[in-house]
């Protein structure tokens, strides 16, 4: 995964997808790669939505299959803005369709599927469902939930790549020590110990830390850039993701009204 993913940064661009409206082969490939990276948040969101149902994984599969087939005109229409918002919108759309389908089946006397309002007492203990999830009239969990997991995915994947690069250069042991220095710690005196551990001079240690931070930063920025339309948006998205990680997912999100009366001419 490591070298393919490293190369994929150049080709994966959300802008490419938008420009081709998901139709060209390059766009389809880009969409597929993006989807693989953000599989996690989607699955988590679906699982939370489905309550105790064990079919979250199957549904996630189905969702991505549909997305990549590109058969839904609705999705194409929404292809703009950031990939994150697009994906979340697509997931919600998919889940609603699913819900409708299940309801008709239920009425038709088929297998009784579990309705959304019920939640298994065993699963709520595991934190899979939350009583405060019924903030949305459609029963979706808060967007913040998705966003938080998304932000974590970004960080995890960047760290994974960073580690893979270190491993490829036979510097894994060094990396294990240096990685804690990706942020400036409260207690800076530990730098002395760290440098000594790595048998580096003060100056060399500082340089190594700087290089690693720079590379990490590049990875994160590339990741984010791949999901937005305009390079100017990267900073904004970064700030948004930081907020998403730090605010607890159960915070209430403002609801987007669909029904607004427009001015009469």
């Amino acid at each position: 995964m490591s070298d393919r993913a490293a190369n994929s940064f150049q080709t994966t661009h959300w802008t490419q997808v938008i420009a081709a409206r998901g139709n060209s082969p390059a766009a389809k490939r880009a969409l597929r790669e993006l989807s693989e990276m953000y599989y996690g948040p989607v699955e988590l969101f679906i699982r939370r939505y489905r309550g105790g149902c064990q079919d979250a994984r199957d549904l996630t599969h189905e969702f991505f299959a549909k997305l990549l087939e590109g058969d839904s005109l609705d999705n194409v229409d929404r292809m703009r803005g950031r990939f994150r918002t697009y994906l979340l919108g697509a997931v919600k759309h998919f889940l609603e369709d699913q819900h409708d389908r299940e309801r008709t089946l239920k009425r038709g006397g088929g297998q009784t599927l579990r309705s959304l309002d019920q939640s298994s007492p065993d699963d709520s203990a595991a934190g899979e469902t939350g009583p405060s999830d019924i903030t949305d009239p459609h029963g979706f969990p808060p967007d913040a939930f998705f966003d938080r997991k998304w932000a974590l995915a970004v960080v995890e994947q960047a760290m994974f790549l960073l580690r893979a690069e270190a491993e490829a250069n036979n510097e894994l042991a060094r990396f294990e020590v240096l990685q804690r220095w990706l942020v400036t710690p409260e207690d800076r005196s530990t730098a002395v110990t760290a440098a000594w551990t790595l048998e580096l001079t003060d100056a060399a240690f500082r340089v190594a830390v700087h290089r690693l931070r720079k590379r990490f930063r590049q990875l994160i920025v590339n990741r984010i850039a791949a999901t937005v339309q305009d390079p100017a948006e990267v900073q904004d998205e970064l700030n948004y993701l930081i907020r998403a990680i730090t605010s607890p997912p159960t915070s209430k999100e403002p609801i987007t009204p669909i029904d607004v009366q427009l001015p009469r001419s």
Binding site: V177, V183, T197, D236, L262
Partner: protein, 799 residues
Amino acid sequence: MIDSLIDSKCPRCGAVTDAALAGGVCPACLLRQVAFGTGGDDFPVMPWTPPDVAELTSAFPQLEIIELIGCGGMGAVYKARQKSLGRLVALKILVPQRATNPDFAERFSREAKTLAEVNHPNIVTVYDFGQAGEFYFLTMEFVDGANLRQVMNAGRLRPEQALAIVPPICEALQFAHDRGIVHRDIKPENLLLDKDGRIKIADFGIARMLHSAPAERDSGRAGAPPPGPAELTLQSVLGTPQYMAPEQRDSPASVDHRADIFSLGVVLYEMLTGELPGVNLQPPSKKVQIDVRLDEIVLRALEQKPELRFQTATEFQTGVETVALHPTSARSSPVEIRPAAPRVLKTGQACLITSEQFAIYWGQLLPWQSRGVLVLDERQLTFSRDGTMTVIPLTAIRALNLLPYPRLMYPAGAHFVSLTFEEDGQSKSLILTPFVSLFRWPSHFRRVIADWYAAIRAAVVAATGHELATTPANEVSPSGTFRRLLPMSTALLLLVLIVGCLLAVILFTRREKLTAVRPPEASDTLSPSFGAPVRQMHPPFMASYHEGTVELVALAPHPSAGESCWQPDGAPSTERMPELEGHNWAAGKIVREILLRVHSQSGTPPSPVLRFDRTSNFSGMGHAIYPADKKTPLMIIYQQFAAPPGACQFNVQVGVADGPWETALAFDRPANQYEFSASQGGGANDNWEGSVQTTAQDGATVALAFSYSDRVDYETRLAYLKADGTINPLRGSNSASVQGVTRSIASLPRNEFASIKQFQVQRRHYQWVEFRNVSLEPGFKTSVESRSVDRPFAQPPQG
């Protein structure tokens, strides 16, 4: 380094984290570090988290904070309730400003005051603003609904709906533009729709509050160089990139109301097509099924050059309404009286003045401070200048004539167009001189004017359907007045010539010099601010001080590129102003540039300072100082300043600190010590203090933080005395002056620092000369005087 795998703490924030992720660093801190940047790259801003409700509740006791509604690049908005009135308000907290934004407080209150006066049903009203604790805030009307972005995301708008949204926005924009307010950040997120279907524009002027133009500071101290390219990009372009007019990106400070029209055009395009206008602009009718006439409207609003767009929001509105009200295509309607967007026939530059103004100009020059852009289209003649616009509908024009300037004014022969029109029942007349570069043959000049005359005439005939009367030549005031004045003025001219010759002779033989300013000890609070007697001046306009001379060289309009300068007495000048980037403007004021030269004979570089009369509403806006060097023995000072409109002349003071430095205060540096300071009180006006502190020692250099007294009447600095007897000033960076003390940081090589025996706070007295009756308009003749003064104009308190 021993880290338990099970329970790791983030080294930065101490939160418990998953060790498998990054050796125990928490993801939030990782991303924050990324946002913080690795220095010298394009992410200068730390992410800002909006304050939580509890923090705000204590800062705003009069409000009940309900919840956070939204958060953006400029701040965060909360829903709140005013306890006293029980009404819902929106509380906007602005992103906290730091040292990069020194006059934020002033700008904030100025902008907010302007906004609070804007009262329109389609503009979100500002109720209150100010600072509560650490927060800068605004309380505004709470709009219960959604913003246009949310509406667009919910589903595609029908064209009728999009067209219904635009006119109220145009009305609101026109309302604000008429008051000189430009929004600069029109985008769907800032257009709110309430439950009744009313649209309201939010966040007017917020962008201006948060971004400072580098030359807006009235500093006059040791010259700061003009802003370099790096600073200007840090100035960060106002507005949201996709909705920004091209001039907002390229020259942000020269933006006017037409940038809003562009942004609204982008919004309309997006509403109709669902997409943003891309690099290859496709007309909307090619993307969706809409009336083709809309193409013209949208594309005109999206013109790259401001002069080609709709010049007012009302024009845009009219265009949109015309299409909306007549939904059938243009072909089917039998009579098209007026096209939706009038075709532009001719554009160019011209000078426009009233006939009364004409009489003032002695004019070897054409009246070019009244130069602006003239646009003739099928419906009207529009003249725009300095953000104001004169619109003359073609149907209101009653008479038109092409007349020659009096030969005395323009011996080579030139013409002007005189125009009589009706406005509000009154008959008015104007003089229009289409402008061409001075460096052309008169015949070319004549042809340009004749072309304009013919074009205007033809357009009026086409618009009204009948011929136009010719303004009788003798009725036009300028020639008339001039004819009356002619015999008088020739006599006067002769008289002046004779007297001038006499004076020149006298001056040459006497070479009178201005008395120097008294030495520092003699000046005190008791002596009046009238110094030496006033002296009439003739070019060159030079005033002396103890160690040299100050010459007032020239003035120019702002921006001065391509414009001519004039001498302090109004006569033309061949000087050229230094070219600097950027365009300053001050609401409701005219901006001028002034050039001075200082010739010092002391051998030590002088420090000049300019002072303007704040009580008469003049203020300095930014300056550049070019020190003397091998190529130019003179130091050049260039300053931009703002003047109240209608002012024709003004007084300016120049303070020069020159000569040797005196020691006001000295304190030793014993070895092995890290902090040194001293202070000395000498009464209310004579406190001196200085301090130096080592902050870091890093191998080869020593970093210092130092401070010293900052005085209005002296130039001050901190210097050090070395063991070998030499004295050097400490050159600091990141200086800031607060309450009479300047703080700065510097670093010295270790050896240098080790050789310091003593620190000294040094001073040099400012000597002031005043130039009076300096002309603010070219051709406006004044009699310039100079005198020396003890104290400059009063300035607002420092700090």
